[in-house]
Symmetry: C2
Subunit: 423 residues, 2 copies
């Protein structure tokens, strides 16, 4: 008997009707002879409503208490889902993260899973039950306090349980049909990808694709758990993410897997930095100590006449203020001229393992952008990804141009439902 | 340093403003030098909303899952309350029933507390924290499943924690000023009782007074925990419930503590029961097996001519159908004539330890009813209580007449805020 772990996002269980629809889908998997563990997010906007309540009583809610508060969301959806399944004549039991054995570190609001001890789940499955598990939450190893895993945490819960239970597959149900070659809201002719490697998926996730989060894919790769991303509405096959394509999974052996874009970042430029050893280290130590995650870093060649250089980096817009404040503090010691802050940027990334063996990809990418009249401000590359920063206004046109240039356009306009993926 | 356990009902924490007000009150107790444990119910109508959701996905929600669902309510209110307290500059930690060590049996939806192991609470208090605890919930000893204590469960949580922590007092904050000599909505001249014995309070609770529930008072009496029922809105001293009045607690040494009434019951009469040994046992065995809690039982003297008698009992209206169905099944074996069901009744009870030594009380009670033109249908008595069943239409007039007759009327009309007390 195979074991399937399924995950349903908040939009799939937004109301009683959604919960009943999901219950039917779970029961179908059970009827097909699988053992089923279903991980569920909070219903619809519950999390945002709880955060709103928290802000009404405290401008800076304490992490421990915020986690206690937010975990009420999954408690509601998982209990309702278990009831709905029992109402269809099947046995189901719901488990909190703690009951399911999701052990984390003690970093509230963005805890990391450090162990999974699914003894109660196993026992429940062996009794013939469908096990429903609260996503997004765990219990800290040291303090036994309730923790949450941060945005996209339910996907990580599902993959971690799939690994601990040695599941055959982890199905991530969402409100889109799978992973696309580009955001279908921007590129009407974007195609659903039938199979994609962990590596390419990791790069897409890091580049702005929101269907799966980086952390979840990383976890799946480490434990070699195939992920099947699919729609909880349509029931069609979605996108498989794994090491190797299996069976009838179509692989087009395209050079490029997809085009991702991201408009959530801003660019900071430190102007007039003395070009001597240790200056860059000084700057990024200051940024790191402010606990800011930076993305791209570019240092220009210094002008020979002045011995000064500019250093630019990108970071989430939300952390812009913190970063510039941290840099102002070290202005005197570093001796740079000025700071520039720009939040009207977009990042466009081309991802595909095929580019390793196709040296023409970079040139074609830049030509496509140039033909579309899009100016490139920063460039950064990995072995299987090229990213550029452009003006935010240019992003849609740029993505479409690149998508067409690499032959990714679908022959027909695919009809897709697109939205957020819950958490 | 004294230890105070406080309990706040759902109406006290109905919204963000309510939570902030309660936070201030808790901090005040802390500032006055007490260690404080605050037990909190779910916000306002949360529980009803969750039950409504449950009914949308399943007509008969499974007990285990319903408990999982409902306990989300306190999780929300307690986390928000802890945040609000921290926002006032004091340290607070919230604890679920399970974390607070509230161990129950496995009867979902109406579990009983069988042990309290408050190790984590003690540690948190000793670190200087205010401890916030979810009322109404616990964890079952055997299955480790989440349980709820049923209606009024938060009061029981508070008293049980007060007992386990050897608290000096258990303060029950509600939306009324205390326990009154009658329901102030019916009797405008009802007086707040300053002190009442556990025994009298138990009888009032059993007779329809809703301020404190029977189970909570029973627990407090067993462990000798003084209860102080008071308003979370006014801050005035309320009603003390204990073995003996203390300090300046006013005791008027009245014969009668109060008049309670209850319109939630119905009356079943089994007509024409053969008057021979075992028939009554047969009837009440059938009712007990249907898990129906009955209240008063009256058997008339049998008519000599027929050898038949009538047996009447009262029970919650909600269980009327179940009871009559159970009795229909045994009609042939018992051989009674017919069943009568009447849900237009009211129960009026006079409570007071003083009646033990005042033989005239019963007569005065009946005279007061008679003068008010109220007919008595059933009578039942305990050592410190007399209850009668009347027509439901007569109840308000009857309560007022009895209240006046026993000199309980206040000299002035007291202004009171009255409503539900949460759970």
């Amino acid at each position: 008997m195979s074991l399937v772990v399924q995950k349903y996002g908040g939009s799939s269980v937004a109301d009683a009707e959604g919960i009943k629809r999901v219950a039917k889908r779970i029961v179908e998997a059970k009827r097909n002879g699988h053992q089923v563990v279903a991980v569920v997010s909070a219903m619809g906007d519950t999390t945002d409503e709880l955060i709103d309540l928290a802000e009404q009583v405290s401008p800076i809610p304490a992490g421990r208490e915020l986690d206690m508060l937010l975990t009420a969301g999954e408690r509601i959806s998982m209990a309702l889902l278990a009831m709905a399944i029992k109402n269809l004549g099947h046995e189901a039991q719901s488990f909190t993260g703690s009951q399911a054995g999701v052990i984390t570190d003690s970093v509230h609001n963005k805890a990391r899973i450090i162990d999974v001890t699914p003894g109660r789940l196993r026992a429940s499955l062996e009794e013939g039950n469908i096990a429903i598990v609260a996503g997004f939450q765990g219990v800290s190893q040291d303090s036994k306090d309730i923790t949450t895993l941060g945005r996209g945490g339910s996907d990580t819960t599902a993959v971690a349980l799939a690994a601990a239970l040695d599941a055959d597959v982890c199905e991530i149900y969402t409100d889109v049909d799978g992973v696309f070659t580009a955001d279908p809201r921007v590129v009407k002719k974007a195609k659903k990808i039938d199979w994609i490697s962990f590596e390419d998926m990791l790069e897409l996730a890091a580049s702005g694709s929101k269907v799966l989060l980086h952390r979840c894919v990383e976890y799946a790769r480490r434990y070699n758990i195939p992920i099947h991303v699919r729609s909880s509405f349509s029931g069609l096959p979605g996108t498989w993410v794994s090491n190797e394509p299996q069976g009838d999974q179509q692989v087009e052996h395209a050079i490029i897997s997809g085009v991702a874009h991201d408009v959530s970042e801003a660019k900071v430029t430190v102007v007039g930095v003395p070009d001597k050893p240790g200056e860059a280290a000084h700057i990024f130590r200051a940024v790191a100590e402010a606990e800011i995650n930076i993305d791209m870093i570019v240092q220009n060649v210094s002008a020979a006449s002045t011995g000064l250089t500019d250093i630019s980096f990108t970071l989430p817009k939300a952390e812009g203020k913190k970063a510039t404040a941290a840099l102002e503090k070290i202005k005197a010691t570093v001796g740079y001229d000025s700071l520039r802050y720009d939040d009207q940027i977009a990042k466009i990334s081309l991802v595909g393992a095929g580019m390793k063996t196709n040296p023409g990809v970079t040139a074609q990418f830049f030509e496509a952008l140039s033909d579309a009249g899009v100016n490139i401000e920063l460039i950064s590359t990995s072995e299987i990804r090229i990213s550029v920063v452009t003006r935010a206004d240019d992003v849609n046109e740029a993505v479409r141009a690149v998508h067409t240039s690499f032959g990714l356009d679908s022959d027909s306009d695919e009809a897709v439902v697109y939205g957020g993926t819950g958490r």
